[in-house]
Amino acid sequence: MPKISIEDLKRIKEEQIGKMVLRGGRYRAKVTVHMGTCGIAAGARDVMTLFRELIAEKEMQDVILTNSGCAGLCAKEPMITVEVIDSAPVKYVLVDREKAKKIFEEHVIGGHVVEDYALAIGSETMAV
């Protein structure tokens, strides 16, 4: 059975402690993938996997990827919420790999909302 090497973990710990102090522990952007039964059945895990790959590929240290439950708009899953520091959170609906890639490049990296895929901007409306 493979063991995660303790040396590797220690190395990451030592490398990161300095960086965390510099950043003050804050992330610049947070991507939340909605992971309710509806989201999972619609492909949310694949979307999460794609974001994980993109973050690793670009070696981004200041983007956090997380998940949450059902947001009540099951017919619009997979849904994600992108929060970039100092701007309002944006919910994206019917996200697939293609859309996720564009959202990552334009919104998470570039800071520009991809309006075409957004559920609503500027309010917390639940209108479908």
Binding site: I4, I12, A56
Partner: protein
């Protein structure tokens, strides 16, 4: 759900919503006995006997965002299609244990799916929760326990990209070895 790993992800997310700090996922593939057993156990807030009685009813849910809860009933249906069952034990304040059995070689049994993706998604999405994943296939076994990893990491969170890639490699290697 397309495969069993998605059901596991769904049920484990229930445990997290119930406030669990440790989720144990055990999968045992016993080819000789033609039995597949999946156990998902959490130390969340548990369910009352009254709620437990009706929890497999799709029109029962704890959430407030919609009024239909399908997760457990869908998993039960998948189990029954493969000549199996889903059982739930739960105690308020102690936690919940879901035990799913299926005939391993049943023609209608859903494929296992990508368990590595499920475990990574759980760890990355819920870095404050610990996961103990145990996968046995006949005599071979793989164990991943995030508590061991966490104790070496100190202040570095489990969802740090470099930690996630280490766990990803470990899952791929470990699950490859038991196949």
């Amino acid at each position: 759900m397309e495969d069993l790993s998605l059901h596991v992800l769904d049920v484990a997310e229930n445990g997290i919503s119930a406030g669990a700090s440790v989720i144990r996922i055990s999968i045992e593939e016993n080819l000789e006995a033609d039995l597949l057993t999946i156990v998902i156990e959490d130390n969340g807030k548990g369910m009352s006997p009254e709620f437990l009685d009706k929890v497999l009813d799709p029109f029962v849910t704890t959430r407030s965002t919609r009024r239909v809860g399908l997760g457990l009933s869908l998993f039960e249906q998948s189990a029954m299609e493969a000549d199996g069952a889903l059982n739930i034990e739960s105690t308020i304040g102690i936690g919940t244990k879901i035990v799913v059995t299926m005939r391993h070689g049943h023609i209608d049994r859903k494929p296992m799916g990508d368990m590595a993706s499920t475990i990574l998604t759980l760890i990355e999405g819920n870095p404050s929760v610990d996961f103990v994943y145990n996968h046995k296939k006949d005599a071979k076994a793989y164990v991943l326990d995030t508590r061991e990893i966490r104790s070496e990491l100190g202040a570095v969170p489990l969802n740090h990209p470099q930690v996630v890639s280490l766990i990803k490699e470990n899952l791929a290697e470990g699950l490859g070895q038991i196949q």
